[in-house]
Symmetry: C2
Subunit: 396 residues, 2 copies
C-alpha cells in the first residue's frame, strides 16, 4: 500500500523518536524518576508566564473569529511587522512585514523554502553532525543532501571540504548554529568564510547558492557568546526560525521565515514560499500562537536553568573521565563515546536507565548526544548512573 | 531562483485567495460595510464559548511543558482516545486510539495520506466541482489528479464516468461531502454505489483503491439531512477531518486522520502516515488545540446562524430570478451564472462590490460560489446589490 519513497523512512524510523517511545516504556516499568531520559529536545523549562497571560488577554480582548480565523497565508500583518521591527532593533537589519512569513515551526519553514527552490536532482549541502531530518526534507522535493564530514576537533564546519564539494547542482546550504547536536556556535569568522566561498562559487557555477539558516536555538547561547545574524554576512540567506525553544513552545508549531529583500528574486521567492506554505497543507501558522508572538516579542525563557544543567553535566562528565567540548549554545552536549561503536555505548547507558542518542543519528559516529533540557534533579539523580557507566567503560 | 514545479503555482495563484486580498483592498476604499465579500470560507460564527473557556482551564490546570510540549508525532494519546470514543458513540464504529492521527487541519491530513500512498504517476480521482487545491496536493507527490465531470442536475457524483475512468494507475479517490462548493451531501445510495464500484475495480486492477473522505463540513448539515459515515460503506477508507468549520477554528490548523483497522495494511499505512506528518515538517498538530479538542469533544458551533443565512440567501436569490439547488450542508451556495462565462458575471458582481468565486476555480464553469459564512446583516445589506445584478443580467 505505501509508496516506495516512504518505505525506507518506515524502516529507518527516527532513532530519536524511537528512544522517546522507549523512554515512556521504561518509565512505566521503573517509574519516571528512575529513568534518565536525555534523548529528546523537549524543553523542560516552561514557557515564560507572560505566554499564558498573553493567551488569556487575547481571548478576552480580541474577537474569536479573528483570533481563531484565517488570515493571509503569510500570517497576520501586525505580527509580521512586530517581528521585523524586533529583528531590526536587535540586529541592525532593515526588514519589513513582507520579509516575514509565519510558519508551522522551523521544520515547516525548511520544507517551504526547499519546495520553493528545489528542482529534482538539485543538491543541498550541510555539515555533519546534523539533524538527520534535513535529508528527508530535501528528498521530499527530490533533492540530494550532500554532507560535509565533521571536524571532530572543534565541530566548526569543515570549510575546505565544503568548498571542494560545491558543484553546478548545488542550490542551497543548511547551517544550524547554535548547533544540534554539538552545542557549538558558528563564529563570525566561520560565517565570513562561508559567505566568501558561497559568493565565489555562485559566480563560478552561474546561479546563486542560498544559505538556509535553521535557527531554533538562536536565543539559547551561554557565557555571552556572540551569535552572528546570518543575513548580515551573505545576501542570499533565508532564516528559518522557531519559537519551539526560545519560548518553550515546541508542540505549538510556531516559527517564521525571513526572506530578505537582498535575496536574488526576493519577491518571486516570497510569493512562491507563501503558496508553498498553503500547498503543503499548513495553510498558515496556528493563529492564536501568532497573536501570542506579537505580545511576547520581548519574552525569553529562563536560560539560567539550562546553563546550570550545562555546567553540572559538563563538569561531572569530565570528572568521570568522559571527553567533550563545552557547549556554547542549545541544550545539547556531544559526548565522545568511550567505545568505538557508540551504539554499544548507548546500550551500556540503557542498562543503567540512561537514554542518549547515538551520534550516527547525526552522521557523526563515535559520539552520543545528551539533551540537558531536563530537570536539574534528573541530572543530579543520573550522576551515579553516569559514574557507573564510566566505570564499566574503564574510564575510572 | 524558484523551482519549475512552483512556477505554474505562482502564475495561477488561488483565485479564492486573490479575491480575499481584493476584498481587503476594496474594504479599505469603500469601508468594510459596503463590500459584500462572499469569497472565502472563513467562518463568521464564533467558536463555541466553551473553546475559550477550555483554553483558560487548560492553562490553569495542566503543566506548561505538557500543554505546549512535544508529544508522540501522532498526537496526545488521551486526545486520540477521546476522539475515537466519540466517533464510536456517534457512528457505531469501533475505532481506538491507534486509528487516529492528529493533523495540522484536513489539508495537512490529505497531504500526509497522499505522501504515504502515492508513487510518481499514480492517479487520484475526484468529482467536479472540487476544491482545486486537491490537484496541488496530488502533484506534491508527483501524482496525477483525474477529474470526473460534474453532474449539473444534482451535483451528486457522476458514477458512470467515474467507473469508466478508473484504471490500473488509480490509487485513491477524494470525496468531499457536505461539498465545497455545492453544499450537496452525498446520499447513502451514492456511497453504496461508490463502494460497489471501488470494490469491483480494486479486484480488477489488483490493488486496493483508497477512498479519502475530506470532511471539514461533516457537522454543517441542515434540515436533519443524513451524512453517512464513509468507513461503514467501504473498508479502504481514510477520513481527513478538520475542526476548522465544526468548531470555527480554521486559523488554528487542527484536525485528524482516521485510518481504520479494516484498511489493507492498516498498521504499515498508519506507521508511514505518522512519519509523513513529521517529515513534511508539521511534526505534530498544535498541542494546545489538541488539548482543547479533548475538552470540547461534544461542542458545536451555532448552526442556526448558518441556516438562517442559507434560507435568506437562497430564497432571495431565487426571488430575483437566479437558479441554484438548495444547499443541504457546508456554507456555500452554488449559483448558476446568468452569463455563459461566469467570470464575466463575477466582474458584474464586483462592480456592485459583491465578491464571489467563479466556478472554474472548482472545475465547473457556468457557476459561482457564494460563501454564506458571513453576518446575517451582510446578506441583508447585499440583497439590493444582488437585485441590481439580477436586473443588469436581465433576470428581472
Amino acid at each position: 500500500m505505501i509508496s516506495e519513497k516512504m518505505k525506507p523512512l518506515v524502516q529507518n524510523n527516527s532513532a530519536i523518536r524511537i528512544m522517546f517511545e522507549e523512554g515512556k516504556r521504561l518509565a512505566s516499568i521503573y517509574g519516571a524518576e528512575n529513568v534518565y531520559d536525555f534523548s529528546l529536545g523537549n524543553p523542560n523549562v516552561p514557557a515564560p508566564e507572560a505566554v499564558n497571560q498573553a493567551i488569556i488577554d487575547i481571548l478576552n480582548e480580541e474577537a474569536s473569529t479573528f483570533v481563531h480565523g484565517y488570515m493571509s497565508n503569510a500570517g497576520y500583518e501586525d505580527v509580521r511587522e512586530t517581528i521585523a521591527a524586533s529583528l531590526n532593533e536587535r540586529f541592525g537589519t532593515s526588514f519589513h512585514m513582507e520579509n516575514i512569513i509565519m510558519t508551522v515551526g522551523a521544520a515547516s519553514g525548511l520544507n517551504i523554502i526547499l519546495k520553493t527552490l528545489l528542482d529534482p536532482g538539485d543538491q543541498v549541502m550541510t555539515f555533519a553532525p546534523y539533524f538527520l531530518e534535513y535529508g528527508n526534507y530535501v528528498r521530499n522535493y527530490d533533492g540530494e543532501l550532500v554532507v560535509v564530514s565533521p571536524n571532530r576537533e572543534t565541530f566548526q564546519p569543515n570549510l575546505k571540504e565544503f568548498e571542494e564539494k560545491i558543484g553546478p547542482k548545488t542550490k542551497a546550504v543548511i547551517i544550524n548554529s547554535p548547533n544540534n547536536p554539538t552545542g557549538v556556535v558558528y563564529s563570525e569568522e566561520t560565517l565570513v568564510q562561508i559567505s566568501r566561498i558561497l559568493t565565489a562559487k555562485s559566480e563560478e557555477i552561474g546561479h546563486p547558492i542560498v544559505l538556509l539558516s535553521d535557527e531554533p536555538y538562536r536565543e539559547l547561547a551561554y557565557d555571552g557568546v556572540f551569535v552572528p545574524y546570518v543575513t548580515k554576512y551573505y545576501k542570499n540567506t533565508v532564516i528559518c526560525y522557531s519559537y519551539s525553544k526560545s519560548l518553550s513552545l515546541p508542540g505549538e508549531r510556531i516559527g517564521y521565515l525571513v526572506i530578505p529583500d537582498e535575496l536574488e528574486d526576493a519577491k518571486a521567492v516570497t510569493a512562491a514560499a507563501v503558496i508553498a506554505n498553503r500547498v503543503i497543507g499548513c495553510v498558515n501558522a496556528p493563529s492564536l500562537m501568532q497573536r501570542v508572538i506579537k505580545r511576547c516579542i520581548h519574552e525569553k525563557v529562563n536560560l539560567d536553568a539550562y546553563d546550570r544543567n550545562r555546567n553540572l553535566l559538563y563538569h561531572s562528565l569530565r570528572e568521570y573521565g568522559f571527553s567533550c567540548i563545552k557547549p556554547e549554545g542549545a541544550f545539547y552536549l556531544f559526548l565522545k563515546s568511550p567505545q568505538e561503536d557508540e551504539k554499544e555505548f548507548c546500550e551500556i547507558c540503557k542498562k543503567h536507565n540512561v537514554l542518549v542518542v547515538p551520534g550516527s543519528s547525526f552522521a557523526c559516529s563515535g559520539y552520543v548526544r545528551i539533551s540537558y533540557c531536563v530537570s536539574y534533579e534528573q541530572i543530579q539523580r543520573s550522576l551515579p548512573a553516569f559514574k557507573k557507566i564510566a566505570e564499566e567503560c574503564g574510564l575510572i
